[in-house]
Symmetry: D3
Subunit: 341 residues, 6 copies
């Protein structure tokens, strides 16, 4: 395959995340922690930390909040070359407020993401060269759900990247507060003919796509209905807001093989947000990096997701050596050091 | 019943609480978190967050520490109409220093609550109209234990509110560092003839009131000895400073019925202080709100207490919708979302 | 004059204010300080701290950000009885991001206040009794500028309060980023026939109302054109972002008198935001409190404004004793203690 | 002179100081900065930082707040050998709440220092060897003013140290909120016959001791009335809470000489508390250290005080090299580096 | 035994520890928590908190970072009499960066401890009287591993203290990043003839000293090969970074007895660093304090280590009463209070 | 001129900067603020914020501290393409500890920058293409002073970039703690034949280069002795640690013209570090950007430096619009807004 400037580009909204420290509540307290996230940004940042070249395609306000987001994108190892800036008077960055949970109190989110600059994003905001600059393009259902304009741009980008030979990765990432299951299905079915790598949880498959049978049947069926090569489905068990277990299944159509791994058990959850995106990042790294394979995808996907739960904020923060050590420990039944030093 | 200005008024000391952040110790570190609490204040604030109208009756110094306390009372949704101010030179707000525990280190408290302004409180500090302004009056054994003057005022207020038709609620809240079991019993027996709703733990009933038999026998016996309508008793299991389980029993004399509920298991404790008061607040809400009942009391009491353990500081911080969702999850055995969004 | 429940009610938007600590910039850093403000809220909170009974009329989202705002309103001594809640999906609280300046860097603000819940406010959100519950009603040009709906509601409220005998106070508070000078003049001229107390800076009078002559001519002319009783005009000198001087002039039509006072020189500015609103609060206190007069208004107005500059956040934070001591020092040429203890 | 274990011991109360960060107010905010101070502790810590061996004589509670104070005493370079511990139930450490000022808002203090453990201090709390262990003993009028018991202990200690050959240093440190001028004078006149080094401001000399004439006449008169060797008087000019100037005069009886120095002009005040104590520490260092003299005392006194104003908290924090550099710059009219590196 | 000035002196490096707050990562964030630690310092501080007199022997830079370390040494109750200062241009304090773990992310350490001032330490830096001033001398394998010069000084000090009658305590504390197992064994075998109390984990005994058999055989064998009186070996089980269990075995040669105790199970780990050193401190306290014995050593050792895990930073922070209460609870199967108040 | 990938590349050390918050001292307190800086990094980051494409050439450790530095480089808008990583065991990033001053206390720095990874940097660490990738190359005397290896690499890079047609910019940045004046002169005279843009303060010119005459004579003389095109010299007046004034002179050889501008007076200094580097960044922007000129250089240089003083940390943080507004205000004598909104 010819060398491209980027290994992965993703289209998605960038959000300002504001959260009270520790277990404080949104309704009280004097400070917010100030972070930046977004499903697709989280994915590309994770892939970048593992060593590939990535960038985010988005539209942000041309004010100091937008610049803060840009700075954080760069801090996360992601290229800001394809950030478009909105200089209109009503330009704004979406916000979400997040507070941690502790059993029996669940984590809570307040969204303030309407009327944001990303909803003005258009294919015309970017040069034609964008579409030939990457090996893989990723986006998620959240982008399609945000607005008519986002949906239109997302679908057009998928087609344009596909034309230029990019691998298309798509994560359903269904959010009931953004659209209904029916809306989601109708929209997503339009793009599935272009998708190569498909991320969809079992619940979403059943509720949104009316799939039946066990999870493996469901995963396989997507590759039968559409020219999808790989389907990945995460399996999270929430013991409490502070304790989860995590694993996943990946189905490879070409070899008709399911890849599985024992779950990461009793993860000590610090911040669960973005752990699904971290899974996608690990899986895409496993597929796009040298000697990529579904086996590599499941190992890096599971490890990336498990460990993201231990890191504050949306974006992952482990480099390749660190993830390799996690994977190694996960498969090691002998003596393990208790500390990295 | 005629409409009163308040659903609940409570008499009690307001304390400044100073605590090192996270797991730091009092003997070290550069900052204290600055909060306000007090058994009865915690109760009325909890009831207020659930939607009833409440106020606190207390006496605080007429200086900036007192004003801080007043501001926090208001922040907690509680009326400051019945705060009396002490302008004397020796006016002071009681303080307690609190540090979190982690097994095998228990949480620790250092009290500095002697010689405080609340010990000067008197019925004369308030207008006559106070006693006819509420549907229910609550106080606890702590108030009676603080000093001779507090005891006198507390007992007189119980009688005055009773005369004006208020429901009288009393929480024994026995503290060995304030008085002995014999002192407590002698004092409390004076007020039991006026009490309608009685909160008393099994341990206290045995040790302080020399009760015998199982917890239900004991609870029932109080209603036989005194004209008490409802007795509530909490049951906390401390697995470690960071993991508790919690439930309670409520006995209703009129129907000779015990109300029980499965316990909240493995609560992820962030701050245990005030969880007993939160129980009282939930129970009183269950009894005083529209369609009040002992069944409602046990559900809101248990949920309020369980969830208080997850919130920093003395005072609770969940509104009615949030508590309803907790109760709903507690009784739901099917699918549960992992996050509120 | 008959006794009303409130001395002062004000209509205005409540904003979440987010600011990096100290001299950090918005584009960097990990935390925001989380405060609440708004021109009219700042006014009523200041009046409340001086001892009168006040409330804010506004519409806020029925989510945890709205509840945070409500809690802070109460913390500031202001009644939340007339807060309407917006439960729609697009409910949101306006935000502004503020950073401090230091010469030659000016303070900076990024606004994100479009599409907010206050823009849905309507007279129908409140009971009829609202309009007869206060001695004085205050609002500002910001409220009228926010949207068509705010303007309509603001104008109607002015008329309804006036009908019920309330004194009407109005602060032009001209903001070029909200409307043009022509729009402002056209709108404000509609309400001037109802206004009793009028706050307007010299610059605004010249630029927006095309007034000419010296500041005293201009102030007097408003009382000639409209049935305005009192006109107040602040005079701020900005030596640097950290050093201001401040005074004002008040004109009383009835006695044809100008009230003036030597300026507070070289104020050590900590946070300039809200110092204009603090002026209004001090002036209104001076007029509405017992033995109110324009002389009292100018003394409390100037002192309140000067001292607000030294306090972080939008809302003032000094009680009557503290303001009295400031006023006393301002007029005292002899020995002064250097500390309050 | 024979070698003693300590160069300086001082008797005085140790207080917990709680202050909101930066310019926040006591009545608001979520944190207090947690420090320890006290007039005499500040003095001995300053002397210790300059290289002499010092200790504090006091009584503190035998709880974790007391241990925090002890740890901070040690952190400040001061011996804790002569701290007595109060294990009674009502043991408490005095507290004061401090907030910074900014013109026109003065710094403010709220005291909560009654009923504290230091008021139980007695000569019997310490071994007889205490009195022969130091070259110099220092205390201040604050200690004498705290209570009958403190006064008794203070006076007895002065006599006992004097008997054992210690130099006696005394700082009037008059505080109107602790006693009246008449009480102060009556008490202090009892101890002046024992005092060698006497610190008294001009204002205090006039108001408390009814002295007349210019400041030099007054200073000299003390050495005529009593066997005092050295009198020092500070001269502070408060331009604003953030800008002071400072110098002092020292009178030496033996040589009938007044020592003076140009003032430190326009000190950038960060925290004014303890700057008077820092003066005493510098002056005592100048007298007690090798080649001590009044000239050295005024240089180190002025520099220590000036620089203390720039340091947060009560206790000073500059070592000998740093103070020497300050003194050198103060006397240097040529090129000066702008930074120490 | 004759009375010595100190009960325990230890030789070792003092390090500045920098750690991101909570679960933040080193590669991100705006602040570091600033602490001081070091294996031997942690030991003496722990012994000091329990009531014995201790000091640390080390060499630190004569700059403000060194002074910070000195202040913290004193804050921890340890004498700074034997700190030597390095005034050379390349003087530096070693640093280590530490971040907390959460399963599956292990805690991580980045060391920056080469070229530090401690590597210049020499017996000549200290007065001859040092060697006769203590009842016991302690050091660890870390000190011997740091450099040729440290090794030389360490070995000479062991010999000199031994000559003066001090008990010699040695903790192998093997660190693979400082030296190899072979280097360690070769060096340590030189000093074992002087050691009285020997701390060595089972793993180290096997890997470094090629010991075989069960742990008790191994422990006993050291006392057969060398004139060692007491061997202690800790047993830690790491369930996850946040949950450990801990106990130990102590072998006493004189009585040929093994001392054991049930483990502290499911310790809620806040900061694991220094818990091994805390074990040594508790064990040494148990041996060196009045009525010292191996039984006392194991009880105080286990409790000190268990509880250190719950305290942030390297250095322990519990006094004798608190440790006694922990030990009491550990052996108590009946009712336990959940809080210390 | 042909289009290059970068407008500016610079060679220099990257340092971790640790500073206590506000006016706290290094010897006390619990936290350090964690920043990254370095003379040449500060320059390229400033140029980048104004809109040109820049990168830093350096060598940093391949550990998490190095990654933190890399993330901050990217956050500052600078390319990390030419960061070499040191994986050896002794790899380390230099550190400096900084504390703010307040008159009469000067700011203070403790350096810990010996034995760092940058001292291993070599031309071989980078691809040949580096030297043809930029329009301009910048370094400073600090880089040459760090070590023999840095000097060798620096000089070779200057020659290699020059060969490839890059403009060479050099800032003397003399630091007496790194080398003597004689060493500096001897070294710098070797590279002056390659330099196009030369930054040298008047003091340094006199003391290091033995120049005489007024500042303009001196500046001109450099262009006579060497083929230098432009010489810039800053003029800072330090009124106190918190108040500076600043301007500069630029001499253009081609036109034999001196460019000057009135100084920025009474800058409210928040953090002086890096303001000299910010000057270089503004000046280089003025020269390298479209329509570059010495007039533009002095305007952007002075404004960038003045405003950097108001920003915490080493690196500048203002974008082009903001700097343009500062410049505009500096030349505007009429009405000025007091806030950017």
């Amino acid at each position: 395959m010819e060398m491209k400037e980027f290994d992965l580009l993703a289209l998605g909204e960038i959000l300002l995340r504001l959260s009270p420290p520790n277990n404080e509540r949104i309704v009280r307290g004097d400070t917010f922690e100030k972070q930046v996230g977004g499903a697709e940004l989280n994915v590309v940042s994770g892939v970048s930390l593992l060593g590939l070249r990535t960038g985010i395609i988005s539209k942000i306000p041309a004010n100091n909040i937008g610049i803060f987001a840009k700075n954080k994108v760069r801090f996360g190892g992601v290229s800001d070359d394809y950030l478009a800036y909105d200089s209109e008077k009503d330009a704004r960055l979406g916000i979400y407020y997040y507070e941690n949970g502790a059993f029996p109190r669940k984590p809570g989110v307040v969204y303030d993401r309407m009327h944001t600059s990303v909803n003005k994003i258009s294919v015309e905001d970017f040069p034609e060269s964008l579409f030939s600059s990457t090996k893989c393009f990723h986006t998620s259902g959240i982008t399609l759900a945000l607005s008519e304009q986002c949906r239109k741009t997302g679908i057009e980008m998928i087609k344009r990247f596909k034309e230029q030979g990019a691998i298309i990765s798509f994560d359903v990432n269904f959010r009931l507060n953004l659209w209904s299951g029916d809306e989601a299905r109708a929209c997503i079915e339009q793009i599935l003919p272009y998708v190569d790598i498909f991320f969809c949880s079992e619940d979403t498959a059943r509720l949104t796509f009316d799939k039946e049978g066990d999870v493996k049947d469901i995963m396989k069926s997507f590759t039968q209905d559409y020219p999808i090569s790989i389907v990945a489905s995460t399996q999270r068990t929430v013991h409490s807001p502070k304790v989860h277990s995590f694993t996943s299944v990946i189905y490879e159509k070409e070899t008709d093989t399911f890849y599985e791994e024992p779950s990461y058990k009793n993860i000590e959850v610090v911040d669960r947000i973005g752990s699904g995106d971290a899974y996608v990042s690990g899986a895409l790294y496993g597929l796009l990096s040298e000697n990529g394979s579904c086996g590599k995808a499941i190992r890096y996907g599971n490890a990336s997701s498990a460990v993201k739960n231990t890191i504050p904020g949306d974006m992952p923060s482990l480099n390749l050596n660190e993830i390799n050590a996690i994977i190694c420990d996960h498969n090691n039944t002998g003596y393990q050091s208790e500390m990295n030093r």
